[in-house]
């Protein structure tokens, strides 16, 4: 079947070679490592493993973008940076997928993320021990700390000299962003009035030149793909570096099956332009995010693994978690102009840790968050928290005030729950693979947390001198579905992402998260990937795989 990308590009990429054809593949006879998915995790792994001298192939379903000619300063046109293949959604709170929480194409979600680059806190790795909710991770903050340091240094994260929350107190490798947008200024001033600490956000966006890339020009289209290359993405950083170190990237190639030989995996099968190919490898790493990784594992069932690969525990696809991400839009007297500048330039984590007096466990981050007309009008018309719809003159007149709105966004912890999961349906996609069904319902603790956060956001809007005008229900990010753990009967992978059932099959990315935290997850995704890379390099050196 013909691939349906609007933009055609080269599909085979390695040092000295770029071709639309796959007839000169570098590792056609087999590689050490095959990575499925070139997103936040896949990019880091490709780079680290190739640098260590391993033969690495990355297979990516979407295109290898050229930011200068494929990206645009336009919301509607750039929705295609998300994974738009249809997923069935179900549950009490069906999730918005696509551009909302996923990426497609080299760089994956990093191509359109806001760049907010936070670490998890100590308590995030032990919510059960600390608060009696969720589950503990098999690792602690200290295990990840050196990898957070490394990733932040490698991509020149900008941020404040002193960061008041969590274990990492700063300073960040690159200077804090300055100036900040009106929306972020208003947020910080209002927080101060209320006695809430706030800071300029740590960002994977340059505040000064780095490796030939310029600092941010405050264009504000982070979610539509950065055109000046000031914002980090795997597309412009890790993947090109991986290629320099010998990796091969196959783009527009959709992996349709994991191949096995009894108890081990031998490689993957993929589709390119309607033709089927194979990639053999000693180790396969699935880095295809929270829906596609479980879908592939379940779909690749064999007589030896009848419930799907790596699924002896039955936990493949289970305990997926978005962040609750409600927004409050406040109407002010003065202009704010939400379109200007990096979307998130200020935040608070004063509500991050459990406070029993609030009546729920865990907590959240609040981000001052820009908004563009399509996103704002869509949200205030069809995602209102009371379930009503806004249309006609009421919508048009509210949007005429677009420039006088301020906005705050929640990143709220959602606790893991077994019934929130990815399963296969009877409906098939263009490759004949069953479509995924994504079921999600908030639990009581999640809803209490949201109520609290919405109240806080309203107070901050009021402290700006504004009126909370639109409260919007939303989610962001997606985590879990192949969680890590020490116990093979209740988890899918170990602390390094190695599946309990198949020694040469690994999983990387947000799907291995045990809990969601109340912070933007990309830094943790990349730090975990770097940790998996170190482990794999060691294992392969010692010939243990």
């Amino acid at each position: 079947m013909k691939h349906e990308d609007r933009v055609t590009h080269h599909s085979d990429h390695y040092q000295g070679h770029r071709s639309k054809e796959l007839n000169q593949r570098k590792y056609a006879d087999g590689a050490d490592i095959c990575i499925v998915g070139a997103g936040a995790a896949g990019g880091v792994l490709a780079y680290e493993l190739a640098k260590a001298g391993l033969d690495v192939v990355v297979i990516e379903a979407g295109p290898f973008w050229n930011p200068q000619t494929d990206f645009a300063s336009d919301e509607l046109a750039m929705k295609g940076l998300g994974w738009q293949d249809t997923r069935l959604v179900d549950g009490a709170n069906p999730l918005k997928m696509g551009h909302n929480n996923s990426g497609r194409g080299v760089g994956g979600g990093t191509v359109h993320f806001t760049g907010v680059f936070l670490r998890f806190h100590e308590s995030d790795f032990m919510t059960y021990t600390a608060d009696g909710v969720g589950h503990d991770w098999p690792i602690r903050y200290a295990d990840l700390e050196p990898y957070y340091d490394k990733i932040e240094r490698d991509i020149a994260v900008s941020g404040p000299k002193h960061f008041p929350w969590g274990s990492f107190k700063g300073p960040y490798p690159y200077p804090v962003r300055e100036p900040i947008s009106a929306n972020s200024q208003l947020f910080r001033e209002a927080c101060e009035k209320l006695g809430i600490n706030s800071e300029v956000a740590p960002l994977a966006i340059l505040s000064a030149p780095f490796e030939g890339r310029p600092p941010c020009i405050n264009r504000g289209f982070c979610n539509q793909g950065c055109m000046p290359n000031a914002k980090y993405s795997g597309l412009i950083h890790h993947i090109p570096k991986a290629i320099e170190h010998g990796a091969e990237i196959l783009s527009d190639c959709m992996v349709t099956q994991i191949l096995t030989d009894g108890t081990k995996v031998t490689g993957v099968q993929f589709d390119h332009d309607g033709k089927t190919y194979e990639q053999k490898a000693r180790v396969v790493i699935l880095a295809g995010f929270v829906v596609e990784t479980p879908r592939l594992l379940l779909h690749s069932a064999t007589s030896h693994f009848p419930e799907g690969l790596a699924n002896s525990s039955g936990w493949v696809g289970k305990a997926i978690m978005p962040h609750s991400s409600h927004d409050v839009y406040g109407l002010l007297q003065e202009e704010v102009r939400l379109y200007k500048g990096t979307p998130v330039l200020a935040l608070t984590q004063d509500f991050y840790e459990t406070d029993r007096s609030r009546g729920f466990a865990r907590g959240y981050t609040l981000n001052a968050h820009g908004a563009r007309p399509v996103a704002m009008a869509g949200a205030i018309s069809t995602q209102r928290v009371d379930g009503s719809l806004l249309w006609g003159s009421a919508l048009r007149e509210s949007m005429l005030d677009y420039n006088r709105f301020a906005r705050i966004t929640l990143v709220g912890e959602v606790l893991p729950h077994e019934q929130n999961r990815v399963t296969l349906t009877d409906e098939k996609d263009e490759y004949g693979i069953p479509r995924a069904k994504v079921t999600f319902s908030y639990q009581e603790n999640d809803l209490l947390l949201i109520d609290h956060a919405v109240r806080t956001m309203k107070e901050i809007i009021e402290a700006m001198g504004g009126r909370p005008a639109h409260i919007v229900e939303d989610t962001a990010h997606l985590m879990g579905g192949c969680r890590m753990g020490d116990d093979p009967s209740t988890s899918v992978v170990n602390q390094y992402g190695r599946t309990h059932d198949i020694p040469n099959l690994y999983i990387a990315g947000a799907s291995t998260f045990v809990t969601s935290s109340g912070a933007n997850p990309t830094n943790t995704v990349m730090a975990l990937a770097a940790r998996t890379a170190d482990h794999l390099i060691e294992m392969m050196k010692q010939r243990e795989i």
Binding site: E4, R6, Q68, D70, A72, S73, D74, E75, L76, G80, G82, Q84, D85, T86, R87, L88, V89, P94, L95, K96, M97, G98, H99, N100, P179, I180, S181, I217, N218, R219, G220, F221, M227, P228, E334, E335, R337, Y339, K340, G341, P373, V374, A377, G378, S381, T382, L389, W391, G392, L395, R396, E397, S398, M399, L400, D401, Y402, N403, K437, V438
Partner: protein
């Protein structure tokens, strides 16, 4: 709430020479939309356009033609719909059956198809759909009039707020590459941005 634009003198398209070529092409196409449709029949397209006019509260044909074209494009496109609720049909079926249902309701309440109704009656019919969570359209367990209404509203709003004419009215700066913004702080605007109440 504002009843009319606070930026009557501002036209974002005046800045298009400052935009990168790819963006310029994308936005330019919206100013000269096609009237031929790939998926919708002529009758369906007109009905949809009339409903969209009410939903976005705008009667200007150039904008509405683009809104209809955008929805028709997305219906004809092989690209997926990101998510679809269990029990709701694919978008093609949803639109086809939903538009037929809109006419059915118009006929049963006002003895005429939706297009033939005056504005007040069109609003009345749409309001009826908006609040109906119980009726099932066709054989689909979860395809209620409200589901259809919400889908059309979302798609119409996506296109409407992507039109440069609307960007100008709300004072949105629009595309900003390679230029970016120099003055982002409170009360500051770059010289080319919209200025309130400037005649």
């Amino acid at each position: 709430m504002a009843k009319s634009s606070e930026y009557p003198a501002y036209d974002v398209w005046d800045q298009h020479q400052e935009w990168d070529e790819h963006t310029r092409k994308i936005v330019a196409k919206r100013r000269t939309p096609d009237v031929a449709h790939q998926f919708l029949t002529q009758q369906e397209a007109l009905t949809l356009q009339a409903a969209a006019a009410i939903l976005v509260d705008d009667m200007r044909l150039d904008v509405l033609t683009y809104v209809t074209q955008h929805i028709d494009d997305s219906l004809a496109s092989p690209v997926g719909e990101s998510q679809r609720k269990v029990g709701v049909p694919d978008k093609k079926t949803l639109y086809r059956q939903g538009l037929a249902f809109l006419d059915e309701v118009s006929r049963s309440t006002h003895q005429a198809e939706f297009l033939a109704l005056d504005r007040e009656r069109q609003i009345e019919v749409l309001t009826k759909l908006e609040s109906d969570k119980d009726t099932r359209i066709g054989e689909w367990e979860q395809l209620t009039p409200k589901t259809f209404f919400k889908r059309v509203l979302k798609d119409a709003v996506d296109a409407y707020y992507s039109h440069p004419l609307i960007w100008s009215e709300i004072g949105y700066g629009g595309p900003a590459y390679p230029r970016g913004y120099v003055r982002v702080e409170k009360g500051l605007v770059d010289p080319w941005e919209a200025k309130r109440h400037e005649a």
